[in-house]
Symmetry: C2
Subunit: 429 residues, 2 copies
């Protein structure tokens, strides 16, 4: 008996209650694995807390009858083998690490949701046709070592053990030593790079305020934006704030101020999904009675379409150059980060839409303005992402929150999707 007949409202509500209970219990058991100090959750790669969290997840995997396996990086897989074991696996999951003093949902929710979904599916429908896996990725945030997407990047072949040579954390501990201390490293478990993935689905909190603002429980991600980041240095001339007449000034901060407002106006004019941000600004000499001689700031630009991203960056560098020139200022723009947009798989998005439809759960299509593990996996397999609302749009903060019902609605869609991908005959990839 498959998951095809429509559920009654009562059945759906009972299922949601069950998923609520299991996903929040899992989240709670992971969120206690946190370094002390702040009010939020701090679980950095290869720390004691991180290892405790992976062990708690592994224990839960075993408890619900999955085969728990690590790879050499510390990625943890919980496998529910399918009848056609030669067919590529369907994988869901997210990352177990957090930022410093972050929330309990970012990353961990995707793992807990996958476990809750597989627990339900296995109990209700038994062995799937294709293997289903939940992955607890070791690292995404780049909060301890200067490398991000270590977990998903290693699976996708975008990161390798060469990349971590010589890396140390803020206290001088080497990446290699910290990894070894936790029992991981080349040859300890199995190679991280994988080829046998049929599809990857990541469920994550939105980390923005769009779903909450529109009162929608689910977002289906069309694309993860590409990002480009720049350092802009504006050089003028430091001068006495009293004795330098306005027309004789070469005020670097005033020039920067004009650039920042131009950036916003043009970004608003062009509209979503473009976002452009000046997040950091340093002024020199930065004293009240001296005309600023130098201003340095960052520009972060994101868009889901490579051409439009490129066009905006070309526009602003030229517009900044003109703004500088008209003020007698010198300017240098240096790009220091470039990530291409990642498109989510069309067929998988259709499957998610169908799952939402079957469950009577409204959703919207949207772009992810933040980077996610799914962008790494999208390079080697069809990948998709689902969002649930973040209260106040807040993340990377102890204030991060999604209601238990909000969490369960995401799990319900995920479960229905995994059923479709893992149990239904016509979904062999």
């Amino acid at each position: 008996m498959g998951w095809n007949a429509p559920m009654t409202e009562q059945e759906k509500d009972e299922l949601l209650k069950r998923l609520e209970s299991s996903v929040t219990a899992l989240l709670d058991s992971v969120s206690v694995c946190s370094a002390g100090g702040g009010p939020g959750v701090t679980r950095l790669l290869y720390t004691k807390e991180w290892l405790e969290a992976q062990r708690a997840v592994a224990a839960k995997m075993t408890e619900i009858g999955l085969i728990a396996e690590y790879d050499d990086t510390g990625n943890l897989f919980g496998i529910l083998p399918g009848e056609h074991s030669q067919q590529p696996s369907v994988i869901t999951g997210s990352h177990i690490d957090t930022v410093v003093d972050g929330g309990k949902y970012d990353g961990a929710y995707g793992i807990a949701a996958g476990l809750a979904a597989l627990e339900y599916l296995k109990e209700t429908y038994g062995r799937p046709k294709r293997s289903l896996e939940v992955v607890s990725l070791c690292e995404e945030e780049g909060s301890r070592f200067p490398i991000a997407y270590w977990g998903s990047g290693s699976i996708a072949g975008e990161r390798s053990f060469e990349d971590i040579q010589g890396l140390t954390d803020g206290e001088g501990v080497s990446f290699a030593a910290a990894m070894r201390e936790c029992g991981f490293g080349l040859g300890r478990h199995r190679e991280p790079a994988r080829k046998n993935i049929g599809s990857f689905v990541e469920l994550h909190i939105e980390q923005g305020g769009v779903l909450e603002y529109e009162g929608l429980p689910v977002g289906v991600v069309d694309a993860i934006v590409g990002q480009r980041r720049f350092n802009v240095t504006v050089n003028g001339k430091a001068n006495h704030a009293g004795t330098t007449p306005m027309p004789m000034r070469r005020d670097a901060l005033e020039g920067a101020g004009a650039m920042i407002t131009m950036l916003r106006e043009e970004a608003i004019r062009l509209g979503a999904p473009l976002v452009a941000t000046v997040g950091r600004l340093q002024v020199s000499p930065n004293v009240p009675n001296v005309v600023p001689g130098k201003a340095e700031f960052t520009v972060d630009v994101r868009h889901s379409e490579p051409e439009r991203l490129e066009a905006f960056c070309s526009w602003f560098t030229e517009a900044f150059r003109q703004a500088a020139e008209s003020r007698g200022l010198e300017i240098v723009c240096l790009e220091w980060l470039r990530e291409e947009p990642a498109l989510m798989d069309e067929k998988l998005k259709g499957d998610i839409a169908a799952a939402c439809g079957e469950m009577g759960i409204p959703f919207r299509r949207m772009v992810s303005g933040a980077g996610h593990d799914a962008q790494m996996l999208s390079r080697i397999c069809p990948a998709a992402m689902l969002f649930v609302p973040s209260r106040g749009g807040v993340s990377h903060s102890p204030e991060e929150y999604t209601s238990p019902r909000g969490l369960a609605l995401g799990v319900l869609v995920l479960a229905r999707l995994l059923y479709r991908l893992g149990y239904e005959e016509d979904h062999a990839s």
Copy 2:
């Protein structure tokens, strides 16, 4: 035989050569009194270097036949007694202290110029009718302790020993202890407050680029600007730079940027002598991928007319409020410094103009955008200021420079003025 017959060009050139030589020698002997460390001059109040400089000045005073006297604050006076000793003195001079790593001209030039002028006058014309004094004021910059104009303010009764109670420098040394260590303090010498000043004339480098730009050797100051300084705090909401659509942002830095450009545009529109400066800006959290939640900046506004100064401050606080409101930002403007403009004495300015005319030295009237000791003295006696050019408009820097001939032209006008004020019968005040 008085200084009334016109000089030939040759006589004038010879006199300028003499003044060049004496003023530069004096400046050099003072500029070696400097704390090590930077390429510039560092002579902070009540330090070893400061005391050495005052002693060098006192020695020079004695050498040229002046009576050297300190007051309790460490102000040093070199007195050339006049025939009518009951008449108020004519005083010239400036401050002996410097900023950290400053130049050798700011302050010290006014003292060296006064000594060079009196040396010449005494040698050439003997005893004046009215007493002439050169003052080496102990402190103006406020670079060691959080108090400025300590020297001139004490003479004018605008500072008292009560004001320095509890003040300490950056290393925790108390003002009182540092003063005592140098041999100064209440009752050590004579009371600083004075009533018997007929006029005060301060010769100073311009610290701006106007004279150099216009190719003029002398500036006659009409007024020292009033200053008002504010701290402006703009509060928005820190948010994820990727997931927060542009219209949902409350970007404190973007708001600040708009305010900074507005301030400049309006100041340029209103024209000199108004100047408005945002010299310091701090952003929070100040990281590349977070929309800034908070921006704090200073506003420094100066004008020689109190009403226009007030009007501009009212304008910008309201304009900033509207800019904040239209962006959903909160704003607080707090004034933390208010100094009224100081008008220079009309008759003295006429005397300076006459002296310039007699010496064939072109000049322009101008406003001083920087604060000076003359503003303190102007509260108790007719006061005036003369400027000589600053190369590149630079001051408070090792780059500070005025050519020897430029220095001497200032001394020549000062000497002619002091002759008029001290030696001519009709200039009793």
